[in-house]
């Protein structure tokens, strides 16, 4: 059974203007996206800043309700017009945010932070809260001695562990990780990635890992979705994607990553991400694509689905 399934999901933000504050245009943050997440799977959602990957994550959980499309959580369809319809699923679908410095209330102690979701959902009786919170800290590799301290006393990596502990308390089935390591040092990144992989193995947790860093994706993801300007342009298993990317954008992303091998120079991708309120006609990547030809500039390529992978390109790097 699918944990989460979305079809033709769009999230458009109105740009208002004029005397009556009417919508004069729309920012197409997420446009006609379909995706599935299966139990025990790590799905990576990759793209540059501004491509809509965080909005997609938020929309799937109803934090930014989508404007159209359908969502099924654990097989139950969600009424996307009603924000409250996500409520009964909150426990199973948790999110960790990018910046561990702003996502923890500075006025609550670690104990209060960790016990709040447990009492809200009525999972643990009041008398057992302290033990439950201490147990959560142990799960993420922190000492239970810190229960009465405040978030400011901790480093970025430790705070991110607190955020993970807070989400884990509800025993979620899917954890949406929105750029959870990009604010951290390389050495600490590895700590958090390893922790998430352990949790996946021990609890069968699924992860939707939103990131702009493809080098991490290779280490943790089973499947990768590549997003550009609100649309998914390629999906593949992590192994396939790194072996033979089909979409020129995926190729460009891979080429721009610096490696330890000085002979392999990163190749920058020229140009800027176009504005998502005024996307180019035809293929969204055509303005920066080295392989673009006439058809790309007028016609929108459909996501062509093969057995395990799909690509939206008229002239993929490797023929499917």
């Amino acid at each position: 059974m699918r944990l989460l399934s979305a079809r033709n999901l769009s999230t458009h933000f109105p740009i208002r203007g004029g005397f009556w504050r009417k919508a004069v245009n729309y920012v197409r943050a997420v446009h006609e996206v379909s995706l599935d997440v299966y139990p025990g799977e790590v799905v990576a959602l990759v793209g540059e800043s501004g491509c809509g990957k965080s909005t997609l994550g938020f929309s799937l959980l109803g934090l930014t309700p989508p404007t159209s499309g359908t969502i099924e959580l654990l097989g139950n369809s969600i009424d996307i017009q009603k924000p409250s319809s996500w409520k009964s699923h909150r426990k199973d679908f948790q999110i960790i945010f990018q910046d561990p410095y702003t996502s923890l209330n500075p006025r609550l102690t670690v104990f209060e932070l960790l016990s709040e979701p447990l009492t809200t959902h009525g999972l643990v009786p009041r008398s057992g809260l302290r033990e439950a919170a201490a147990d959560l800290l142990r799960q993420v590799g922190l000492s239970p001695d810190i229960l009465d301290r405040f978030p400011h006393a901790f480093s970025g990596g430790q705070r991110q562990r607190l955020c993970i502990a807070r989400a884990l308390g509800l025993k979620p089935k899917l954890l949406v990780c929105d750029e959870v390591v990009s604010a951290l040092d390389v050495s600490v990144q590895a700590q958090i990635v390893n922790l998430l992989l352990d949790l996946k193995r021990d609890h069968g947790l699924s992860l939707l890992f939103i990131t702009h860093d493809l080098s991490l994706v290779r280490s943790i993801a089973d499947r990768v979705l590549v997003m550009y300007l609100g649309s998914i342009v390629e999906t593949a298993t992590a192994a396939d994607l790194f072996r033979a990317p089909h979409h020129p954008y995926t190729r460009a992303l891979l080429d721009s990553i610096p490696t330890l091998d000085p002979a392999k120079k990163p190749k920058p991708l020229e140009g800027e991400l176009p504005s998502s309120s005024n996307p180019p006609p035809g293929c969204v990547f055509a303005t920066r694509c080295p392989r673009a030809f006439d058809r790309c500039r007028v016609e929108v390529p459909k996501l062509v689905v093969d057995k395990t992978r799909s690509v939206a390109c008229f002239d993929p790097m490797t023929k499917m």
Binding site: G50, H212, L214, L260
Partner: protein, 350 residues
Amino acid sequence: MPPAFKSSSSAPLLRVENLSLGFKANGKVTPVTEGVTFEVRPGEVFGLVGESGCGKTVTCLGLLRLLPKVGSAVLSGQAMFEGKDLLHMSDEDLRSVRGAEIAMIFQEPSAAMNPLLPIRSQLLMPFKHHPYNGDPEVRVTKLLRRVGFADPELVLKSYPHELSGGMLQRVMIAHALLLHPKLLLADEPTTALDVTVQAQILELLAEMQRESGLSVVLITHNLNLVAQYASRVAVMYAGRVVEEAPVADFLDNAKHPYSQGLLEALPRLDEAAHVPKPIPGSVPSADKYPSGCRFRDRCPYAFDRCTVVPQWTEISPGHRVACHLFPHPSPSPLPSPSVAMEREGGKGVR
């Protein structure tokens, strides 16, 4: 490839010697960096690497005396730039060096720009304080084109909030290069940016360096960047330099356990099942540094001698390491500034 230096005997552009900086709190001074020694040669990219809290940024801010006057102190050391000591020259002399001879790119472009002024007035500001032959407007427009803006006029009219992080960072680079500086201190110039923009920015810096012989101190925690763009690297941990080497040598043959840990923590693209290996624990804060080797709490090889501050050992020409795993043949051929500092502690405050 970064150009190899013509001859290693050429005089260094900047020589930082035994630099110790401290912060004052509760009436006492806590040393934050200790005995930092390195040199930057003309036309080279020098990588300064370490985790957050290692003192990389403090060292650079200290060089330009940008740390708050009241809360910080230079405990010892000197920083010779073209024969003048940056740390002890008069404020007036320093002002003529800052921006014109040594420029800095700050970590967070959105926080480093004045939100109330359009880009034009911010970019023209350096010309008001430094002599310049030529038309500032022309120079500004030319550099903006150089950093990849197709329409400089549009950028000049904008306010910082109207530009994206990548665009602001490129504006900052243009700003730093306006007066043809000889040395650029680039503090995590790409940490806040996407990989695609990161490649653009660093390619640009490399071009500038090839064309105008600019020297760059590249501060980063990402060794991949150092491997790609720098010719020499120094690794800092908890306020001390622990290893220094030519980059090629470092990548094949890093000696210090901390350097090795940093290399192993990197995610790899070339290996399918490579899970990055973390360094356990985190950098202690300056008031909680352990005695002796400061890495010993996190070091997998730590043994009893690590409670004593390690001395420098030369592994090969230009490659030195401060670790007891590599005992140096006595008598000491190299100065060991950290030992002296350890005993002196907070003395010598000005």
